[in-house]
Symmetry: D2
């Protein structure tokens, strides 16, 4: 059976064209004018874009003594409603420390629930021989990226030598290391200092992890990656300090990628100064929202290419869960929503203002991460042969974001009251319409699939070649020029 | 009749894939495995890439009292042999100052000669109402880019207010302004100073136009472009100073593009210190070759995306012509060859070293400029519907560059003796093989076509939207708050 | 007769020490504990600092069709009340273009009026042989600095080649070139554009000369200075863009100085948005006040040494005069007050906040400019032999700045309502108390003297040596290697 | 008894003046023309400058299984011959970890040996309550600076949290933290990696600690210092990466000081490629010499003020000692000579080339560090009341540096063969001539004194004020806005 998306303007990372799209089964068959098919999907007056890929979610993740409330079902359903057709979720080892078991556990949890496709990043939270060995298991299983926490001291944090070991292992495996970049030692000290001073409110969360700590850790991770000879992906870039470190590295030709969150592009740290405790606590995440003076830096990064990907770090806890930290900001579970809102907020505040071109919008929400994670053009593309993960993106549907109408499981929304001027008219996952605006779509848990990702992407391959060619040799010294005693 | 390029690895700006390419007539019909056609072109063991686009040539251009020796025929033929299937040539108004007449003159000269496709940039060398009016003619005629010389005082140079006027006109027309960025006043003063001191040799050419002058002019042009509200394309970026200005602008979200030349990526200003006058004079161009310390900066620009396009500024004069400046370096016709060598040199010193990925190589030699100049994906792409401008790029053919075996008309080669490790096995222009390695191919003058380019590319459109939304308004003052006397 | 300043903390650019100061006649004799003299000046609880030097004033200057209202008498009297004991005033050639006549005219005007010492900078507003010749006259007459306007097109503005010629002449004479750095072409275009659009209010003054225009011109002037081989002094640095250009040059070892104004460190461009026309117009100056986001940049420049001097550009017009531009912002005379307030505002917002040390306060208000202008340690120092230009600076006297209590001749104050927490208890000029807080001091016109300044300061000398040693030589070519025909 | 230094040009950090200097006992009494005294020291044709202060020496320091060969006697004697009248030596705790005992041990060793004055920096090599307590002892004993090693893992290295604790303690005590900035984890990993690969030669020393590791650690230390609210002094800055981090911090107003070594300004890492093992090993120090491309960066830092002090890290081991690392570069004792050569090399390659003014030479060799370490103007100044630590600096004495004629105890010299064009004609320590060129001067061990340094210098005081004023407050939340459960 074939479908034709009819009458829209196809926007990809490299062009805009008025064209129909013919879908056969799960993949795109043809792009061109006047295509025919068994069914038609109306795209008149709309853009037709690759489905969004959110490379940074934490669904049902056990964290800080509780578990993220957003499930694989509600999360992927909210994603679909928002125009996102794939998430890459962070997989954490359990008590046994096994990567293999963690991946299997993630499969067990996600498989029956996911409404669209999924992939994982694997977290490296320590270093030993088992981890070294099982990293290969992960790559063979289609997980080609490894996350390292430089914060959360005493819990997830790894030290520089552990990062170096893991990054070096990534080079061997052709995998991509990622970092959560904040100086965990300093955050820990600040937390203790503030608590000791009786400073317990959520505003102190932000103050315990200032931009300088993020910039420092970003710079350090880049140094480690360069020493190991690997590209690096920096998740949730929130500030100029981290962005500066990334830019500086890139100016030297280093292969470093930066991922601002849609929250960091649009929301302000003054939210933590609300006199309503719940309001502030709901916005607690790490890194925290930053001052408005950083927004321009991040937008310019997307425009100039020094930042490549807009994600969400969607890790949604209920107000009830947030209240675990009523007397102690360090106990507020870290995380906010964003998975459902990402495309609409970015379009409204990015494309509608002229900051981003429509092509850039597609690049930063879908194509770039697909290329970085080596699943392009299966994902992130509209071209013959690609998966038909497609969104009919209607720039005429306005909406005010609210917890009262969102799909997410949680009881609030950090974008509450934000007006957006575009929405997904239809969302297709592998050829199937999984969301249709105003048509009472329902989640289809279990139809999503795990998408394995091959190792050794192009940048990693080139960098390894460069490093090999530029390794120094030992000086050849005549024994006569070496003192006796050797 | 159909052709299939068989067995190669297709490399585009966004991916590599083992696939055949089916060509029907002049365009690409299909990309995929096991395609069938009337004819087969062997690409086993080779890459298959979009034909190179050199956006910066001066063929048969009248300049400095002579005319560039490379003709449209020899130039496009040399291009074909080197894997380049389209050039964008600089069109200069004649004595009458008419843009319209200049375009027609360029058509008259190029049409019977060109072996592959061509486009023009139009030079703006002064400012008056005729120019204002005829800029629209140019755009309507498919010339959507205008070049401004900030050097060559007393000849081509324009002043800041003229640039502003022209840039503003570009905004209205949706055209792209370009600059040759060197401070012409200072160059002129240095030239006079050196000549007055009896310093006449070609080494003084380079010293009369140091990197600082280029950086200054680049920065100034960016300021003018930002004031006018237009993207800007900086041709022949040779040094860190100019690159820094471009990076700094891009970091603020400005839409500035930079074009290093393959010469500037690989050749050194010490060439001007040769005790052989001819050797030095043959390398005289503006800007001149720079110190090796800048090469890394330019390569990193390509890697990080702060520079987008590698061109050649091919403007080839014979040794005889160069000798016009025997007693006065300011009379040496400015220009070098490069059109034929660009791809092979960049591949060898870029891709083979691991500096660039194959995808990046395609991006900077073809795709990026096609997008910037708004002819993508007709040109610069391998996708269904695109022109079949395709090169079968063989990474196993080694060669030493030499005037003795090049196609260019001139009697020397600035890359003389440089070893390259890849060459075009076949070059196709709109589906036709116009070059086949080792098979005694012959130029086919007149088969090339002029390719008109539409205005209002995506970046210009976005920028205009941003500028419109961010224009300030007048303060509303109550007449009571305005002093009497108004 | 001797005087002793007793009981204070002497603060110089390099140290703080509890000490008395013995003055004999016009100069300092000794610094130490328990000094005796004929008279005592009480400095208990106060700091004792070198008198302020304001290197940027325009007293009684004919400008924009009127003459600055502040006279040499009222200006130097206001200065004394504010703790400033020397001003360097800008001397402009008259209609005859003669430097010599201009200096004599300035002497004629200033001599009978000045209450404390004075020097001049000479403006270069064109280029010809007379100017070339008379620059030497100026230097011989003790004027070792020359100002160049890159703005005020059609009036004071000079072109790049004129700047180069004048800068080169400065090198020969050992004089220091200075620039008013704004791109005059672009300002002129913006003014015309806004007026043509009916935008006539004072807010459009600021918008017609954005920070980018200042940054551009600063960068250009630096390039010209580097080409000529001279240090450069950039007056009234208002923004990060100009500061960045200065920093970038200094990072390369270039000898560039930057002078933020106290207004630019503390006042905001939102003042131009006042609905009270007079309020906005009174603050019209060039460059204009900038956004608050730049204040941190300028303060940090003072802290780190990338900016060296805090001046005022005191050029005070009455409200009546400002109203010349009621229907046309380009006709509002450019200039604000500040001479009287500089020290108190800088102390309160700089030293009292911990941004600056007391030593740095002295450096940027007095010592640095004395060194740059080569009159140190006669001025700008507290050491034996130095002129006894000394201020007893009382950090306990609070005051709210107001036109109602200032000494300036004008009818408003741009710092109106600003609280300051320190004032001059006593101001001494060459050993004489010319201001005593609360003691009904009166101006003493005519007691001030012109202070000639020698040429060839230390930085200029070093730079000339460096340039001489690093000049390239011609390549020696064997005639055999030069083609026949030479 | 009085002495007069007659006929020279007195150069201080702020001026040059032809003047005599009258010395009474140990201090300077007067500076002026035609002074009389009991004795005369001829300074005709010479400069008269404050005695050099080398703030970075390791005399007789136990390190890497041996003890630095240079003794307090030979070291201070070599210093005197080279124009340096004070050293600040690094004091290391012994096995008991006691700061108090270490200081006493250093007194015990140095007192009978030193020929001129001395001070100490105290090393913090771990963290516990005893160290916390004894830091106060150190400050009370006149040691106001504490050094932290970020390298030498397993030996001297401290972690980020330990640095933060110590830096915070410094804030309380008004002391200055210093860092040896290299990422010790990464160095350690590289060392192990290279050794495991059989790479044992001294060239691998440099490669195991690349500039990036130094830049990283510098950036990290700055972040820690900023969090703690203290100025920071970075010792032995060798490269642009570290300099960049310092500049970037200073541009934000942070109080960070950088100390390049004279070796890093003039010597090249190619020395490690010598085929003579001894030659390379003798130059092993940490950080190592760097590529020539960094020299310009460091010189420009001195010119622009982003770097403030030129030191030597004099830590001299004999060839015999160096050979401890014959089979393992990690066992080569780290350190080179420089104490004797610093002034002459810096003058020759700095002042004689025009890079530095004579005043800047004095600033970076003496005055700046005296101010930073809060012993100015007792040391580092030529003014009445200052210690008569004075050098008659003769710019006419040429010399080729060689182990055959130096005063240092070691058997080679890393500057061997370097020509210098100036030498100390006389060196005075507290009024006493301790070195006279060509007059067979002899060391006078035991005449030197320990110089205690007070805490709370001006920059630290200002910074503490700024931090206190800019600390955020808790949000006041109405209990009604805090959820029940609190
Ligand atoms: Zn995270
Ligand atoms: Zn996360
Ligand atoms: Zn050009
Ligand atoms: Zn050209
Ligand atoms: Zn001005
Ligand atoms: Zn002025
Ligand atoms: Zn060290
Ligand atoms: Zn050391």
């Amino acid at each position: 059976m074939t479908k034709v998306i009819k009458g829209g303007i196809v926007v990809t990372a490299d062009r805009q064209v008025q064209a129909d799209i013919l879908i056969e089964g799960e993949t795109i068959k043809e792009i061109g004018p006047d295509l025919k098919g068994d069914e038609y999907i109306d795209a008149e007056g709309a853009y037709v874009i690759p489905g969004g890929i959110d490379p940074h979610t934490h669904l049902e993740m056990p964290f800080m003594g509780t578990t993220a409330a957003e499930t694989f079902e509600t999360g992927t359903w909210a994603a679909a409603a928002g125009g996102t057709t794939m998430v890459i979720d962070f997989c954490l080892p359990g008590a046994d420390g096994s990567i293999k078991n963690a991946i299997n556990e993630w499969h067990r949890k996600s498989a029956p629930q996911i409404c669209s496709d999924i992939g994982y990043h694997m977290a490296i939270t320590g270093w030993n021989e088992q981890i070294f060995d099982e990293m290969k298991y992960a790559v063979d299983a289609g997980v080609n990226s490894f996350k390292h926490f430089m914060a959360y001291k005493g819990a997830l944090m790894v030290e520089d030598d552990e990062m170096f070991a893991s990054f070096s292992r990534c080079v061997e495996l052709g995998a991509l290391p990622m970092v959560h970049a904040e100086n965990g030692d300093l955050v820990d000290l600040m937390q203790k200092k503030f608590l000791a001073e009786g400073k317990t409110g959520p505003e102190w969360h932000a103050r315990s992890r200032p931009p300088e700590f993020e910039g420092e850790a970003t710079n350090r991770a880049i140094t480690v990656a360069d020493a190991a000879g690997t590209p690096l992906y920096v998740v949730h870039v929130s500030c100029e300090q981290a962005h500066e470190a990334i830019r500086r590295a890139r100016q030297k030709g280093m292969r470093v990628y930066g991922e601002p969150l849609v929250q960091f592009l649009t929301l302000d740290h003054d939210e933590y100064l609300s006199t309503d405790w719940d309001h502030s606590a709901r916005r607690v995440m790490s890194p925290p929202f930053r001052g408005r003076e950083f927004h321009d830096s991040l937008w310019a990064g997307l425009q100039s290419g020094s930042l490549q990907v807009v994600a969400t770090d969607h890790c949604a806890f209920t107000t009830e869960q947030k209240r675990m930290g009523l007397n102690d900001f360090t106990k507020i579970p870290n995380g906010t929503n964003g998975l459902e809102e990402r495309l609409a907020v970015l379009w409204t505040q990015g494309v509608e203002t002229g900051r981003l071109t429509p092509e850039e919008f597609v690049a930063v929400t879908s194509t770039n991460i697909a290329r970085i994670l080596n699943i392009y053009p299966k994902k992130g593309a509209i071209m013959p042969g690609a998966d038909a993960d497609i969104v009919v993106w209607d720039p005429k549907i306005s909406k005010t974001i609210s917890a009262s109408n969102h799909k997410s499981i949680i009881d609030y929304n950090v974008f509450e009251g934000t007006k957006v001027t575009a929405q997904a008219r239809y969302t297709l996952s592998r050829g199937e319409v999984i969301w249709a605006w105003g048509q009472n779509s329902q989640p289809q848990p279990g139809r999503g699939r795990f998408v394995p990702r091959p190792a050794f992407n192009s940048a990693a391959t080139a960098l390894s070649k460069w490093k090999a060619l530029n390794s120094p040799r030992s000086v050849q010294r005549d024994p006569l020029n070496i003192p006796a005693g050797v």
